[in-house]
C-alpha cells in the first residue's frame, strides 16, 4: 500500500514540474535561434546561373569590352564582390580583398548604388583589388543578385554559375570556412585563378 502511495506522489511531482521543464527547454531553444540569426556573417551554397546583368564599367577607360556582363567572368573561378563607398564594413573588408588579389584571386566588383566620383576616390585612396567593376547605380543588378546587405560576395565557377553567396564582410576566417564548405561539394578554391 505504501509503495503505491509513494508512486502516485512521484507522478504528481513530475506533472507539477512539467511546465517548468517545458519552459526551460523553450527558453534554451529561443536563445539559441536568436543567437544564430544575429550572426552577421552567413553563406548560402547555391547552384544557379548568374543573372544577366549589363552594367557600364566604373572605369571604362581601363576596359576593352563595352559592358560589364557575366561573360567577363567566364572560364575561371572568380569572386564577385558587391560594395559601395558609403558602406563602412566594405572598408573593413577591403584590406582582406587586397590580400586575396595579391594572392592572385580573380576579384570582380559591382559598385552598388554609389556615386561615381566617391567610388573612384575610394579606389584611388584605398587601392583597387578588382579586375573590373560594373557600376550598378540604381541597384538593378543588386536586386537580381538578391543583395540586401553590402558587402556581399559570390563565388562563381568556370561555367558562370553562382556556387556560394556570402553575406557580410569577408575575412580570413570566413574565407577558410567558405573554402572548406565548397571543397565538400567539389569546388576547390585553391585552384582559383592564380596568375
Amino acid at each position: 500500500m505504501e509503495v503505491i502511495i509513494k508512486q502516485s506522489k512521484v507522478n504528481f511531482m513530475v506533472w507539477r514540474v512539467m511546465p517548468l521543464i517545458i519552459f526551460i527547454v523553450l527558453v534554451i531553444f529561443f536563445v539559441y535561434s536568436l543567437k544564430s540569426t544575429q550572426e552577421t556573417q552567413t553563406y548560402i551554397l547555391e547552384n544557379k546561373p548568374l543573372p544577366n546583368f549589363k552594367l557600364p564599367f566604373l572605369e571604362p577607360e581601363k576596359q576593352r569590352a563595352q559592358l560589364f556582363t557575366p561573360k567577363i567572368l567566364h572560364g575561371q573561378i572568380a569572386l564577385l564582390n558587391v560594395w559601395a563607398s558609403w558602406c563602412l564594413s566594405c572598408e573593413e573588408e577591403h584590406i582582406f580583398l587586397m590580400q586575396l588579389a595579391h594572392q592572385g584571386v580573380a576579384i570582380y566588383g559591382i559598385n552598388y548604388k554609389d556615386d561615381l566620383q566617391s567610388a573612384k576616390k575610394w579606389l584611388t585612396e584605398l587601392g583597387n583589388p578588382y579586375k573590373a567593376i560594373g557600376w550598378d547605380a540604381y541597384g538593378a543588378a543588386g536586386i537580381d543578385l538578391g543583395v540586401y546587405k553590402t558587402p556581399e560576395s559570390f563565388i562563381i565557377d568556370e561555367t558562370g554559375k553562382i556556387r556560394a553567396h556570402y553575406i557580410g564582410p569577408l575575412d580570413e576566417n570566413a574565407w577558410l570556412k567558405l573554402s572548406a564548405a565548397l571543397n565538400k561539394i567539389g569546388l576547390n578554391l585553391e585552384k582559383i585563378n592564380y596568375n
Binding site: 548560402i44 548604388k113 540604381y138 541597384g139 543588386g142 536586386i143 537580381d144 543578385l145 538578391g146 540586401y148 546587405k149
Partner: protein, 134 residues
C-alpha cells in the same frame, strides 16, 4: 474614459489613412492592379528591417523593391510570378508568412500539437477527478 476611446480611435483611423495615402503614389490603370500591389507589399518582408513589411518600410531597398513590384505588375505579371521572382533572389525570408515545407512543418504543426497535448492532459485530469467523486 469614453471620450478617450473615441479620441484614440479617431487618431488610429487617421494614421491608417495616412499610411495608405503614402502607398498611392503609384498609380495603376486598373483598380485590380492597385489591389494586387497593395496586397503583395503587405505580405512581403522588407529584408533589411526584418519584421516590417514592404508596405510599411521606408528603407532604401524597400523603396527599390516596391518600384520593382510596380514595374512587374504593370507588365501584367501574376502574384505567383512576382513571388517567384522575389523568392528566387532573396529566398523564403522575404515572405512574412513562412511557406509549409519540410523544414517549417514543426512551426505550422506546433499549435495543433499543443492543442492535442493539452486536450489529452485535460481529459486525463478530468477522468481522475470524476473517479475520486465516484
Amino acid at each position: 474614459m469614453k471620450k478617450l476611446i473615441i479620441i484614440s480611435s479617431i487618431y488610429l483611423a487617421l494614421l491608417t489613412t495616412a499610411s495608405f495615402a503614402k502607398e498611392l503614389i503609384y498609380s495603376f490603370p486598373t483598380i485590380k492592379q492597385e489591389r494586387q500591389f497593395i496586397n503583395l507589399i503587405k505580405d512581403l518582408r522588407c529584408v533589411v528591417c526584418q519584421n516590417q513589411s514592404l508596405a510599411e518600410s521606408n528603407a532604401d531597398l524597400a523603396k527599390d523593391l516596391r518600384a520593382k513590384i510596380y514595374e512587374l505588375i504593370k507588365a501584367n505579371n501574376s502574384d505567383q510570378e512576382i513571388i517567384h521572382f522575389l523568392t528566387s533572389r532573396y529566398g523564403d525570408f522575404i515572405l512574412l508568412k513562412p511557406p509549409i515545407k519540410a523544414v517549417t512543418i514543426i512551426l505550422w504543426g506546433a499549435p495543433i500539437l499543443f492543442l492535442l497535448g493539452s486536450l489529452l492532459v485535460f481529459s486525463f485530469l478530468l477522468k481522475k477527478r470524476t473517479k475520486r467523486f465516484i
